[in-house]
Amino acid sequence: MRLLLAAEFIKLIKQSKTYYALGAILVIEILILVTAYFQGSTILDLLLDNLKQSFYFEGTLLNGNLIMYIVLNSLWFNVPLILMIVTSGIVTDEYKDGTMQTVMLQAVKKWKFITAKYIIAVLFTVLVIGFMMLTTFILAYSIFGNGDLVVYINTLNFFEADDAFHRICWAFASGAVSMVFYCVVSLTLAIFIKEAAKTWIAAALFLIITTLLLKVDFVLPVLNSFLFPKLIDNWQQMFYYEPDWTQILINNGILLLYTVAFGAAGTYVFHKKDIG
């Protein structure tokens, strides 16, 4: 397994698409930063105009913490979409280039090969989120500085600078779990579909449906609590005034179980399926 992981790692770092993905994340961040730099104050003034008539705000609310929170919101669609496209390519490219056949003609166990791909995809996802967090942190704080955070989730919540940074860090960690779930799903879809373009469509559809189902009431409490579309926004729970840490932990644990289930299904199908 160690040898397979090393090979998958070499393939990942030698492919240009890996750097395209990191570049795409950076472009999203820079766009957010540029927009915030030129229009952020105007938008904030517009949003908080009524509050400003009743409360006194010290310091600027357009700060590094707010920028990090805005960037964090790209975990809803932009980042998972990029990750799903890149990670599904780990499998679809092998089918397209015929290397899947070449690998399967070597003394390699099918389940080990595909498990190595899942592990590398997960590590890549965690790396991307880490890269996103680090670059946003550096850019946002160096340009906008520190300050209190205001976010709107059902109501306006205010957090002091230190508390805000703490919550943002945990949100990135929780968001990484959601991204890992999406990346494992995309790999499983790639195993089922094999073709890149069809897998991208299926992955995008999965992402859209999951996001839509997040707002749907399934009537049954167990579904409303534990069906995977209801668990993908765990990172958002960090910005409630008093987050339920136990529930966040349980939800992330269940989401990881879903991740393992999707991975196991993909591995089983890959093991049973003919190659070519």
């Binding site: 040898l3 397979l4 090393a6 090979a7 070499i10 393939k11 030698k14 492919q15 240009s16 280039d97 015929g98 290397t99 899947m100 056949q101 070449t102 690998v103 399967m104 003609l105 070597q106 003394a107 390699v108 090969f113 003919d274 190659i275 070519g276």
Partner: protein, 283 residues
Amino acid sequence: MLAGNNLSKSYSSGKALDKVTINISAGQICGLLGRNGAGKTTLFKILCGLVKPDEGQVIINSKRAKPIGGIIERPGLYNFLNAYDNIKIFAGIQGAPTDKLSIEQTLLKVGLPVDRKDPVRNFSLGMKQRLGIAIALINDPECLVLDEPFSGLDPIGVASLITLIRKLAEEENIAILLSSHMMGEISKCCHFLYVIEKGEIVNAGITNELINRHITSFSITAANLMASSTLKKYTVEMGTNDARVVCTAAKVPSLLSELLQEGIEVTACTPVLTLEQLIKKAI
């Protein structure tokens, strides 16, 4: 060494293989001739374990970690990596040596340069085929299957690949099965031929015997063939530079002797046998 017994496989589009039996011994080069869609690739995929047969079994008498290697349809390579890294990746995943010397020896074995550092996407098809064979040979398999290895190669590439295939069989005692729809190329290097049509083996035999049994005409190249009185005894189709003479293989020595007596020096005499003839005769 490599045997497929009564192999059958059906897809939704129809039956791809129907009770195919095939045997290849160590050091033997076997050819599988068939038109496109005859079932060659399906048979190869089954022999290599990529596809499970509906019926029948594959037997490989080998205790090696990798009993069989091969290229199916086209060499599947990591085009963004160079030849060295491709070998390193494929050797690494199966625990084969990945040191510089071993990799360079693998490259040299198939006649590839060790100093090319550019990605294999820049390689010619012939070089890709050689790299594909090098990858197939990692971990010393006892059998090698090559699906359409001559496809897309120029005559020099074909000749060079035939030399390599023969060398592997003779020097390393590898059982080799290769497929093609090109009669000429496959008959040059194979000891034994199987002919497949619509998923069934319709003809088989030792290459020379099979060709001799089915040959009906020869292409003769010489000067002044038009003036030959000997050729008037045969059914002849005159070409620009040769004459296609209808006769059996047994009559060729006397034909050549008569032509020589006439003062016509034959520079080439090639059997003309098409895949269709082998299929039709058998059916």
